[in-house]
Amino acid sequence: MTLDHDSLGLDSTLRPPWLSSLDRVLRHNQSQVSETVRQAQVRSAGLSEEQLLTMYRQMVLARAIDRRMWVLNRQGKAPFVISGQGHEAAQVGAAAALRPGVDWLVPYYRDLAFCIAMGMTALDFMYSVYARRPDPNSAARQMPSHFGLKRSRIVSASSPVATQIIHAAGIAYASKVRKLDEVAVTCIGEGGTSKGDWHEGLNFAGVHKLPFICIVQDNDYAISVPHRLQMGVDSVARRAEGYGLAGDTVDGGDILAVYAVMKRAVERARSGGGATLVAAKVARFTSHSSDDDQRRYRPQEELESLLRRDPIERFRTLLLDEGLLNEAGDERIQQEATTEVDEAVRTAEAAEPPEADDFTRGVYA
């Protein structure tokens, strides 16, 4: 698995020379972290070998789907693509602390890996990329990455940023009133925290000590708007106290750190200890979406440095070093992901588009 250099917005004709050698540099840097530290990390996480490998598989699959989207976009088959590359550890690490089908995910558009980890299949998603009739997210009414999957309790997402935060609070309020042992998790970018709805949702969760967790995936940019113009503070987790929430800032590239933070947050939620705000610092590898070109506003050194922050590579190295994975096993996982994506693409591509006249259906019950 290597990074999708193209998705950095550096299309092949323009790809600068430094890119060719970066993968090596990256691998080298990461293996310098002491082995003992890593082993301790893995042990203390309290995750079984199987769980760890499942998490790795989910990340790999999400990345494979994501990269394929960009290919489809360049082929003119996917008119719109928005990506989660670079956010996978934050999402899969968080999902690992949840119970799919019991806990709620109120997602945002970068949560592909999160959704995969909660039960969405590559095919479920590819239907939406191709805007095909069987799309379980929205029957192709919405753009892709506007997730929604009833069987996995992934609540239908819209485009307006931050509205979902309040829905998650409402879901959690219902869980509390109905005495259901459920946690509502909702995600958003750091840009989205500037919206009134984010505030109103967190405040409500704080007042009622709800089983609610808000994960801010802070990738330093809201499209082109940098962190410094978005907020006057280094981490939004600093806002937790002001709402009566627990707050954590975590390296969102470190899947085990994310898992640990989320495990505590879930325990807090389920034991009546109240809500948590997690700020996960992540890297946005791609342009904001297929309509954007991040070279317009991100300096080249910054784009280069992203390559050293691949959360999948980081987890892979850890698993290899731990002896939980070998190159052959990794190869198999990559291959399985590719196969799944190939099949999803084939099936989705062959599926029917929605019936034109069907669009007036379902406005009301």
Binding site: P160, I165, H167, A168, A169, V177, F204, G362, A365
Partner: protein, 327 residues
Amino acid sequence: MAVATLIEGVRQAMDEEMARDERVWVLGEDVGKKGGVFLATEGLYAKYGEARVLDTPLAESCIVGVAIGSAINGLVPVAEIQFADFIHPAFDQIVSEAARMRYRSNGDFTCPIVVRAPWGGGVHGGLYHSQSVEAFYAHVPGLKVVMPSTPEDAKGLLKSAIRDPDPVMFFEHKKTYRLIKGEIPEGEYTTPIGPAAIRRQGGKLSCFAWGLMMHYSLEAAEAVAAEGIDVEVVDLRTLKPLDTETIVASVKKTGKAMVVHEDNLTGGFGAEISAVVAEHAFEYLDGPVLRVCAPDVPAMPFNKPQEDAFMPNPAKIAEAMRKLADY
């Protein structure tokens, strides 16, 4: 049948539905101990407790958003917006979220919520406690918009709204709360969302209205009846879905149409009624379609002379009736 106020109809509807179905809950500012600033939820807090009659933070987007979330997770919320004037901060949650949840998820997630709000003027409310907001929401597919004008309807329609599988905006004219009294049927009943009610049969012209203006129109109709002008007054009750059948049938009969509303003229919902008539009853029309509305100023002033000047009233309505009858 007992005579009661309109707000009592509203209160009874919530009380009965909460007793009937424990998923039903009420949320909003001051709906708890205080029983709402107009006392629409009086007694509910004592009867059903804080979890089901919740005083929310002062945040309308939160009120609607929490209602939506709770509906997704199995509850049936009745959200109160303290004054319709303060519903604007929730516009995005209502228009982008509540109205589209079903559509965008192809029916997998739905939004059975009710948003209640007192609207309308003539109560010294000034610019921000007097507004009409129905035009904004009646334009939005996915929402239903209900505007009762009698105690019986207030109760029956609110009960229907609470049981409705889709989001219902339920607007109660605050001046009618205690001004309008009427009989409320004993026992369980609901009033269907959709059909208009012909409050006064007449052959000379059709007058369409809702809320307080429905009552003013009736008054005006009585006044001009003495002059031989026989007006049919149609209480639309529900703006969305709109009972175009009744509207068109009435105009077919009378040949003349007017709409009365308290909202300002341009882009008010009266325009939609006019447009329906101008398209679907054109061949029966014997005169222009008139609108009696507030003028295009940002809202009604606080001081009494100007508030009075702003509001349509029976005299202004009667004048338009005469003008139309004479055409």
